[in-house]
Amino acid sequence: MNQNSFSPKARWDRFEPEKCGFNPDALNERIEVLANFKHSRIFPKSFVWHDKEYVIEIITYNWQERIGQALINYFSVLCSGQMYQVSFDNYTFRWQIDKLIQ
């Protein structure tokens, strides 16, 4: 897979001024996640953020992005009526909550 196809600018676009940047709502906070790894795929089931457990009801979408050597797996998930974007970095094995999806 060539993640650079069509626009390597995708990476550079992130570096915009804070107030009108790519993702002003970014949280990027570490979370603990319970997930199933099945048939080379990842299925997050629940996560703990600020000592509260969030049970994932639906994974609405998932996608990947290569950043340097790391392959980041992104998931948009629904928990009790609120959408979240969480991600897993297969290089550092870090799970994080990226943002709330409005």
Binding site: P8, K9, F15
Partner: protein, 369 residues
Amino acid sequence: MILHIDMDAFFASIEEAINPRLKGKPLIVGSRGNRMHTVVCAANYAAKALGIHSGMPTKRAYSIYSKLEFVAADQAKYIWTSEQILELLKGFDLPLNYASIDEFQLDLGSSPSLNPVSLGKEIKAQIYANFNISASVGIAKNWLLAKLASKLNKPDGLTLIDGSNFEQVLRKASLDKLCGMGGKNGQILMAKGLKTCWDLYLNLPELFNNNPGKFDENPGKSSEKPKSVSHSYTLPRDQINPQVIQAWIRLLSEMVATRLRQQNLTSATVHLWLSGPEIGNFGAQMTHQALTNDGYEIYQRALKIISKSSLNNPKIRVIGVTCSSLSWGYYSALLKEEVRREGLIQALDRINNRFGEGVIYPAITALTR
């Protein structure tokens, strides 16, 4: 027969799949996070019905409908989805063309055992099942007609153009639906009285009878040398600070240089394009004897273009840097300073390849952040 797959409002559909709350509501995907200072990069069908289309400034889109839903574009998910669709289509084991991020073409040949309509339905169903987004399929004897067919019944359409409905479809299809006729060409022909695709067919039948399309053995990876490599950027607002403008030229030069090095190319010609309220569109180029794929050198050449022009610190809104006159292969440095410079570029590339593009960057580009 060619089967053309055109994803319906691709970026917006993915955002709707991610966040089902947005489904059916007028939605725009902005190319930047600031909703009032960017352009519409994609609009879903509810927004299109209001007259909102891609390329429109978001301010204008909001003046049409103030309650528009807005999502900032995240190209990684669109690229990933596009590549996954390509992988899915490879499974059909037919010659395949990766036409663009949201368009794919399959060459069905002339095998009588293959039912193009059933295949089109199967592909649509598989795309929907895997990604929860819809596609429109057009089937015809060549890619131009297949692409036209895919546009006729959007969204979620499937249209076959064959001998039985050829004239009927072309009579109904306005000329601007045909690929290449949306801009000035179409306007010129329409001014001459050609209103529909059928009118054009009567004047230029070979256009509709040829156009077999281009199918790679290795879709998604072209071995052809590009004519040019370029990057451009529309600033959030008019910019007069020369340092900031130079920072953007440097960043775009670095982006172009990175792509040149990724493709093992060097360039002799640098073209700088600027646009602003006072100067309109300004473009100039310079060709040098020495080939380069060094971002700093490209930047210096772009600055030279400005210094030789009559521009006097104008307000700038859009900046574009293009490298052309491309050659394969690396330029081998001779002078000690050049060898050091080449070593530095290689080290920077290694760092960015390992930790992600733009992790280490020229200090001046911090002004673009």
